[in-house]
């Protein structure tokens, strides 16, 4: 065995190939660098980089499907432009409604990848290696959260860019089209940041409670389905019964709230599906509060976890 040879070669008789042990006298960074390193590794991990090919399948397929329709529109932008110029009514995908239409694909993205981010270290007991280094537990949790939020933001923003490019290309004068389209597209950035932060904090906070991927994934699916359906049903029933304060329950829904908040960023009036009693700004507040609450749950979980 090569290892055995190696060990015997290191005996006092020595070997000319053995350079000996050299101490490290270079620079050592602190906790922020450690957190940054974990963030980068974690972000790569969400997309399956540095992992087997099979690990890349889920994130790329789901994010690809989410972007697919925007790229389809981009690919056919010249055809669509001709149809529009000939006076036909064309229903295009818009910045403000894209997430509402295809957001379920990102729920699947979270279900697949959030457990990957936090369950692995618990299952294989890697946490004790992190927590015995110059990295705090909060640093660990926040770096993981930031990495999933960044991955989601990338998944969200790519179709927005595709839509933007498509919309610009449909116009005859590209330069002036950029000036017209950019203000319409820019609210997508804050809206997507909020969506990414909210979905990442919910997914990680819930996933961190189980070291098993499967249980975390089932928990996430259950949460997203139930929290979408139950408040909406109660609200519908309450409307019949004349219970007016039931409209607040809609703020608990993860995806409907995010869609409402997106409308606020784009300055769009809420649709008929939303309770008329609540303004779009309420949903923004509710989403920010949900980010705070779920981040706190995540931090609490890691504060208590045995290493």
């Amino acid at each position: 065995m090569s290892a055995g040879n190696r060990l015997s070669a290191s005996s006092p008789s020595g070997s000319i190939f053995d350079l000996g042990y050299r101490h490290y006298a270079g620079k050592r960074h602190g906790r922020w660098y450690a957190a940054w390193s974990l963030y980068v590794e974690s972000l790569r991990g969400v997309w399956g980089f540095g992992r087997p090919m099979s690990a890349k399948a889920a994130p790329f397929i789901l994010a690809g499907l989410y972007s697919f329709f925007a790229f389809l529109q981009l690919a056919f932008s010249s055809t669509l432009a001709n149809e529009i110029s000939s006076g036909q009514q064309v229903q295009l995908f818009a910045y403000d409604s894209y997430f509402t239409q295809f957001g379920f694909l990102l729920i699947l993205f979270c279900v697949a990848q959030a457990p990957e981010v936090v369950c692995r270290d618990q299952r294989y007991q890697v946490l004790s290696l992190y927590f015995t280094r110059a990295m705090g537990r909060a640093d660990y949790a926040l770096a993981r959260l930031a990495s999933l939020a960044t991955a989601l933001f990338l998944a969200l923003i790519v179709p927005m860019i595709a839509l933007f490019v498509g919309d610009v290309l449909m116009k005859p004068d590209t330069i002036s089209a950029i000036g017209v389209e950019l203000p319409k597209a820019l609210p997508a950035i804050p809206a997507d940041i909020l969506i990414a932060a909210s979905m990442a904090s919910i997914s990680l906070a819930l996933s961190s409670y189980s070291p098993r991927r499967a249980y975390s994934a089932i928990g996430l699916i259950a949460y997203f389905l139930l929290m979408e359906a139950v408040p909406a049903i109660i609200y519908a029933v309450a409307q019949q019964g004349g219970w007016t304060s039931a409209d607040k329950l809609v703020l608990l829904t993860p995806i409907t709230s995010l869609s409402g908040a997106t409308d606020w960023f784009f300055g769009k009036a809420l649709g008929a599906d939303y309770p008329a009693t609540l303004g779009a700004d309420t949903y923004v507040v509710a989403c920010i509060a949900s980010v705070a609450v779920f981040s706190a749950i995540l931090l609490f979980r890691y504060r208590r976890m045995a290493a």
């Binding site: 060990l7 000996g20 042990y21 960074h29 015995t132 110059a134």
Partner: protein, 325 residues
């Protein structure tokens, strides 16, 4: 030459005691894992022995700042375990007892990542990883996924990640767990090299005394949270003047006869253990055996083993207390 270098290295980097504790106590409810432990340990390869549940892992966790002490004080390299946790962790490498490796990455990638978490810049982390993996004896297989490694290779990766940032002190918790005899010997050899050639102080926790004896320079024996003994390994393994007289039968009669002749003797199955303080003992044994007509098997001077301190934790760790009166 290498050892001199190692000592210089220890001397340069560690001017204070490696570990100091004062009345260190840790209780988990009714269970006292550590009970008023007072230690002062100098740099070297330190064996931490004790049965399962003796408090070894608790002590290591306190030293790493993973668990706060219930009372008392502890410091590592002069840094307090409660207030200077972060500073301690920068200079300490830890190899846990349990599995701690994700199966779906290669050893190189994992150890580089851990080196970066320890604060090493990217290039330095890569270089150090290549170096420590070579030192622990992982070559081509270091690019393969860890999930496909043998237990021995996994233990090497665990050691490598603890060494990656060039710590001043290594804390190894049961490093030979699950290894076959060859793997165990190689791991012990590696630990010895780490302590001597690399000049890194090592604390090895183990319940196997025979292993500790092979590699350590200093031994801490703890039992039920109490310090049983802390001394250089040489005092545990030095030849003690104990003579074992084995007879096929009549060991009890021989013990009684020798005791009556003024020797303190202890019977252990077919053996009688006696402390050799003068050559007269041999004559006395010969005469007594002849007088009693016992079938003598052997008369042998024995080395006191580490196990003895656990056999009789209450007394002086000698098979026979006393001697010729």
């Amino acid at each position: 030459m290498v050892i001199m270098g190692a000592r210089l290295h220890w001397g340069n980097r560690v001017s204070m005691a490696l570990i100091e504790t004062a009345s260190l106590t840790k209780d988990y409810g009714a269970v006292k894992a550590l009970d008023r432990l007072d230690l002062q340990v100098e740099p070297g390869i330190i064996g931490l022995v004790g049965a399962n549940g003796a408090g070894k892992s608790t002590l290591i966790k306190i030293l790493l700042g993973l668990v706060p002490p219930s009372s008392g004080r502890a410091s590592v390299l002069g840094l307090d375990v409660v207030s200077d946790t972060r500073e301690i962790r920068k200079v300490v490498g830890y190899m846990p007892e349990h599995d701690c490796l994700p199966p779906d990455v290669g050893a190189t990638e994992f150890v580089t990542h851990m080196a970066r978490i320890s604060g090493l810049p990217r290039t330095a982390a890569r270089e150090r990883t290549a170096e420590v993996l070579r030192h622990v004896g992982l070559y081509e297989e270091r690019y393969r996924q860890i999930g496909g490694y043998s237990t021995g290779m996994k233990q090497r990766v665990k050691l490598a990640q603890a060494l990656a940032h060039d710590p001043t002190l290594l804390l190894l918790d049961e490093p030979t767990n699950g290894l076959d005899p060859t793997g165990r010997d190689e791991m012990l050899d590696l630990i010895k090299r780490t302590g001597t050639d690399f000049g890194i102080s090592v604390i090895v926790a183990s319940h196997l005394l025979g292993e500790i004896e092979q590699v350590c320079t200093f031994l801490l024996a703890i039992d039920a949270g109490h310090l049983l003994k802390a001394a250089p390994i040489s005092t545990f393994t030095q030849r003690t003047p104990v003579v074992a007289v084995e007879v096929e039968e009549g060991a009890d009669r021989l013990t009684a006869a020798l005791t009556s002749r003024g020797f303190k003797a202890r019977q252990e199955e077919q053996c009688v253990l006696l402390v050799l303080e003068s050559e007269a003992l041999y004559d006395a044994v010969r005469d007594t055996v002849a007088d009693l007509g016992l079938p003598l098997v052997r008369v042998q001077q024995e080395r006191r083993r580490l196990e003895d301190i656990f056999r009789e934790p209450e007394q002086e760790p000698e098979p026979v207390a006393g001697g010729v009166q």
